[in-house]
Structure formats: structure tokens, C-alpha cells
């Protein structure tokens, strides 16, 4: 959907003439009370569920969660997936032309924040004629957007489902993002963000960024169980410093290669920056309880015990702040082994809680 009007941005300035890619699933009911907005994290899109015709491998990124008969049941709810501004899956991003200059944005694409994304999503809902969301839902950075919805548009959200998320990033977390950004920005093919004109892609940087990211999405246990010290080829050591020796190296390189093929380098910088900047308590002297006083939605929060990138302690901070404000909430801490990745995986306890919440609360 195209938006001609300028969207004011938190960092100053605005963006106009932009497009948002979105998909919907299920039917909006007569009183428009069954809409569920899904917010994506770093590496995902508006394609949250189902497969495209004739493309059996095009499964949506949250197909375990969303679809007919799934925990978020599209037979019952009208689900909206939207690709955020600055991303690289169809919405306007740094690879597109700035309508003011006619030139590719590249490095000049404005820095967008979680709050900006939420404002853009709200405009999309306006255009779809949806005033109130039955629920807004997301994991990780998507959970930050869901939380932000309850603060920016409290009257438009009945329920917020916040999975494996945090009220802001810790220093360690920003540090990981910075390593990834430096890997990209120091790739000679990056050209200060204007690599499109040079007909190259900073793939080396993207690969390293993805490798670092992947390490942080898994738990030590799962990595040991999946790869351990297994060698990639046979049982003899190669005594080489540059060849792939261990299975884990092979896995990370493969993930990096795959990622560098489709992901945009500027998008990576933009989205990790949005993660870094998100901090609703900042305007309240760091007091999250004060910051969440505006939220009136009911919450379901979920975290995973082995997630060290968005640890349960961070979700508990949100729980505590909501308790201080006497908000209705439920919180499940799932003892899953898979680290941060668990929020995308099939765990019956996790999916069961979300399913029951939608059945007993959101749909009630």
C-alpha cells in the first residue's frame, strides 16, 4: 500500500511517498473486532503464515504460530503481517529511490525507530478501516513494537502478546549489534552505504554480521548438542587455520552465505539501530513503571529460560512494571533449550499457552 503523506520521524524529518508491504489472513468480522497485527523482528517480513501458490518452500516465518487451526487461528482472527519501513522485503527501504531526489536512498535513508514503525503500522490500519486491534503480537524486536503499540496507541490495543523481548537492550546486546554493523560498514564493498551504484553487495560484512547474530540466537547447550566438536570431514584433523574444520564453522558459514544473498546491508544497520534505540523508560528517567502507566492493554508475556540475548529477567522487568500499574497480565517462562530461537520453534508448552490465551482472553 502506498502512502503519499509525509510520516514524521522520531529522529527529525519525515519520509513521504513510501510503500508498506502487507499480507492478511482470515476474514475481518462485521464489527472489525478480530484484527491481530503481527510485528516482525530483524530478519523477517509481512509473510507471516502460509505458502504462496506453487511455492511449497515459501512458508511464512511464523507458520508454527499462525494459520488455520494454529494458536493464532486465522479461521477466527483477521491477521495482518506488515513489513517495516527500511526493511528489504517489499516496503520502502534504502534500496529504493527517494521521491524528493529521484536517487536511491542508500546511506541517506532516514534512521527509523520502533516508534516510527508503530506510527506507520497505525496508518496502515487506518487505511484498512481498523480502529482497534484485538491483539498486537511479536517476538524479540517484534515484541518491542507490540509493547510500543500499547504506549503510543493505548486505546487501539486490547491485548499485547510480547514474546522473548525486552524493555530495552543491554550494553552487551548493543555490543553484538555494533560488531555486526562494523563488519558491514568496513567491508570495502559497502561504499559508505551507497553500494547499489557500484553494482556490488558487501557480502563479507553481511556474512560476519549473520554469523555473530546466529551465535547469540542459540544456547550453548543446543550448539553443543547439535554440533559439539564434530568435524565436518571425517575424523582426521586438517591442521589448517583457514579451512572449515568443525561442523559449527560450516553451519555458521552456510547461514552467513545464505543471508548475504538476500538481505540488504543498510537494512541491517537500520534495524539493529532501531533495536538499540528502543527504550520507552528513557523519557521517564529510566523508570519503566512510569513509562508503562499509559498502557491499558492486557498482556501475555513469554520468555525462554535459555534465551540469553533476550533473557527472562528482561521480560520480568516488563511484568514488574505492569504489576506496579495493576495491569492484567499473564507471564509464561518456558524451559526450552533453544535460546532466543525458541520463539520461532514448535514447543507445545509455548504454543499451548498462546493458543489458550487467544481462546480464553482475546477471543472472549
Amino acid at each position: 500500500m502506498n502512502f503519499a503523506d509525509a510520516l514524521p520521524l522520531q529522529g527529525g524529518g519525515s519520509i513521504r511517498g513510501y510503500a508498506l508491504a502487507y499480507e492478511t489472513y482470515g476474514q475481518l468480522n462485521a464489527d472489525k473486532s478480530n484484527a491481530v497485527l503481527i510485528c516482525h523482528a530483524l530478519n523477517a517480513s509481512h509473510h507471516v503464515a502460509g505458502v504462496y501458490k506453487g511455492q511449497p518452500k515459501s512458508e511464512g516465518w511464523w507458520s508454527t504460530m499462525i494459520g488455520p487451526g494454529k494458536p493464532v487461528d486465522t479461521n477466527r482472527f483477521f491477521v495482518i503481517g506488515v513489513n517495516n519501513l527500511g526493511s528489504c522485503f517489499g516496503s520502502t527501504g534504502p534500496m529504493h529511490a527517494n521521491p524528493d531526489t529521484g536517487e536511491i536512498y542508500g546511506a541517506s535513508f532516514p534512521v527509523v525507530t520502533v516508534e516510527d514503525w508503530v506510527n506507520a503500522q497505525a496508518r496502515l490500519l487506518d487505511a484498512l478501516g481498523i480502529e482497534t486491534l484485538a491483539a498486537v503480537m511479536g517476538g524479540s524486536l517484534g515484541g518491542m513494537q507490540a509493547l510500543s503499540w500499547t504506549l503510543q496507541y493505548p486505546q487501539r490495543v486490547r491485548h499485547a502478546v510480547v514474546v522473548a523481548s525486552a524493555p530495552n537492550l543491554t550494553a552487551e546486546n548493543i555490543a553484538f549489534n555494533e560488531v555486526a554493523r562494523r563488519a558491514i560498514a568496513t567491508d570495502p564493498d559497502f561504499h559508505g552505504g551507497n553500494f547499489y551504484q557500484h553494482g556490488v553487495v558487501p557480502k563479507r560484512g553481511l556474512r560476519i554480521a549473520r554469523m555473530v547474530g546466529h551465535i547469540t540466537y542459540l544456547s550453548n547447550d543446543v550448539m553443543n548438542e547439535k554440533f559439539g566438536r564434530t568435524l565436518r570431514d571425517g575424523i582426521e584433523l586438517k591442521y589448517s587455520t583457514q579451512d572449515v574444520e568443525f561442523q559449527i564453522e560450516s553451519y555458521l558459514r552456510h547461514q552467513g552465505d545464505k543471508f548475504a544473498e538476500y538481505f540488504d546491508a543498510n537494512t541491517y544497520l537500520l534495524i539493529t539501530r532501531a533495536l538499540d534505540y528502543f527504550d520507552p523508560a528513557r523519557a521517564f528517567g529510566g523508570d519503566l513503571s512510569l513509562a508503562l502507566a499509559r498502557a491499558t492493554a492486557k498482556f501475555l508475556l513469554v520468555s525462554f529460560t535459555t534465551d540469553w540475548r533476550f533473557a527472562p529477567a528482561r521480560s520480568r522487568e516488563i511484568v514488574r512494571a505492569l504489576l506496579d500499574n495493576r495491569r492484567e497480565l499473564s507471564y509464561a517462562e518456558i524451559d526450552a533449550p533453544h535460546g532466543h530461537d525458541a520463539f520461532l520453534l514448535e514447543d507445545p508448552r509455548y504454543l499451548g499457552v498462546v493458543r489458550s490465551y487467544f481462546e480464553s482472553k482475546v477471543g472472549a
Binding site: L300, R316, V319, R320, L323, D324, R326, E328, L329, S330, Y331, A332, E333, I334, D335, R349, G352, V353, S356, Y357, E359, S360, K361, A364
Partner: protein, 196 residues
């Protein structure tokens, strides 16, 4: 302990419309009852996945938390009532949690199996640990790591500067107010922090 009469006896102690925190809330039956019949609101706290799911299923707010990690998430006097129904006996930090209950709640209500109930005494006299309907476990597999009596709790309350507002035994769904330490399988205490 989950039979209806027992549940109703406990529920009667909870003021109408109270904001309640139920520690070790199980499947949320008591909270659901309090919400439906006494206009209460609040949250359950549970550790077990199956119980968390059961609470969400019945629309009871639940927070998954290990009570052995304490109640730091909850502010002082932020609830009208904090319940510990058949929870105390499972807690490693039972005394700390009792103090925490009185810190977080304006009222605390605790119920636990009374080890001094006469059939239990009889079993011990015979030289064996009791196995009863109320205490169905063998000594080697019991989750009840804190075995105490009605009278023991009175002493513990005293030690922790808690003012007991009401106390009685429960047996076969009935309140026992005469010799509860010998005549009741369950001890129930309603208390608050003694004014400093």
C-alpha cells in the same frame, strides 16, 4: 484440599472485591472462584507448566515464577490478600516466604497440612510416618519438605511479628475451632504484619 467445601472455607476469608495474589495457585480454581463469586481480581503464581496452561485456559492471570526465588517482583503492600494454600510445605525458604507474604499483602492467608492431626500422631506412635488421604506420600517421595503443625505455625508467626487475625482447622470440609491441632488435617491462618 481442592474439594469445594475447603475452597469455600478459604474463599470466605477473602474480602469482597479484594486484589489477590495466590502463591502456588495450581490450576487457578480458587482464583476463578474468587473472581466469579467475590468480585476479586489478581494473579496466580505457579511454577508447573501444566498449571500455568490450566490458568490461562480458564482466563486466570498467572505469572510463572519459582517461589524459591522470592517475591521481589511484587511491591510492598501491593495486594489486599496474599494466599499460600498448600504451598508453604513445598518451599525451601518457607520462613522468608511467610515474611514476604506479609510484606506484599495487607492480609496473608496460609493453609497447610497439620502434621499433629491425631491419625498422624498415631502413625508416628506406631513408629511409621503417616500416609493418609491428606498426606498421601511415602516419607521418601513426599514433596512436603516442611512438615509442621498448627501449633508450630503459631510459634513461627509470633517469631516473625505476625498478628494472627483468625485461625482454625479444616477437616472434611468443616471448620474445626476446638482443639484444631489434634482434630484437623489442615491448618488455616489469617494474619497481618504487626504494626511496628
Amino acid at each position: 484440599m481442592s474439594d469445594l467445601e475447603t475452597l469455600q472455607s478459604i474463599a470466605r476469608l477473602v474480602p469482597q472485591g479484594a486484589r489477590v495474589l495466590d502463591l502456588g495457585c495450581g490450576d487457578g480454581a480458587l482464583l476463578a472462584h474468587l473472581q466469579a463469586l467475590r468480585g476479586c481480581s489478581g494473579y496466580g503464581v505457579e511454577l508447573a507448566d501444566a498449571n500455568v496452561l490450566a490458568c490461562v485456559k480458564r482466563g486466570v492471570n498467572v505469572i510463572q515464577l519459582n517461589l524459591d526465588e522470592g517475591l521481589s517482583m511484587f511491591a510492598d503492600q501491593s495486594f489486599d490478600v496474599v494466599l499460600q494454600i498448600d504451598t508453604l510445605q513445598h518451599l525451601r525458604n518457607a520462613e522468608v516466604m511467610l515474611r514476604e507474604t506479609a510484606r506484599v499483602g495487607k492480609l496473608g492467608i496460609v493453609a497447610f497440612p497439620n502434621f499433629a492431626h491425631w491419625p498422624n500422631r498415631l502413625a508416628v506412635l506406631r513408629g511409621r510416618m503417616p500416609v493418609t488421604k491428606r498426606l498421601p506420600y511415602e516419607w521418601y517421595d513426599t514433596p512436603n519438605i516442611r512438615v509442621g503443625t498448627y501449633r508450630d505455625f503459631e510459634a513461627l508467626a509470633q517469631k516473625n511479628h505476625l498478628q494472627v487475625l483468625d485461625a482454625f482447622g479444616l477437616q472434611d470440609g468443616r471448620e474445626v475451632r476446638w482443639l484444631p491441632n489434634a482434630r484437623a488435617g489442615t491448618a488455616v491462618f489469617k494474619f497481618q504484619r504487626r504494626a511496628a
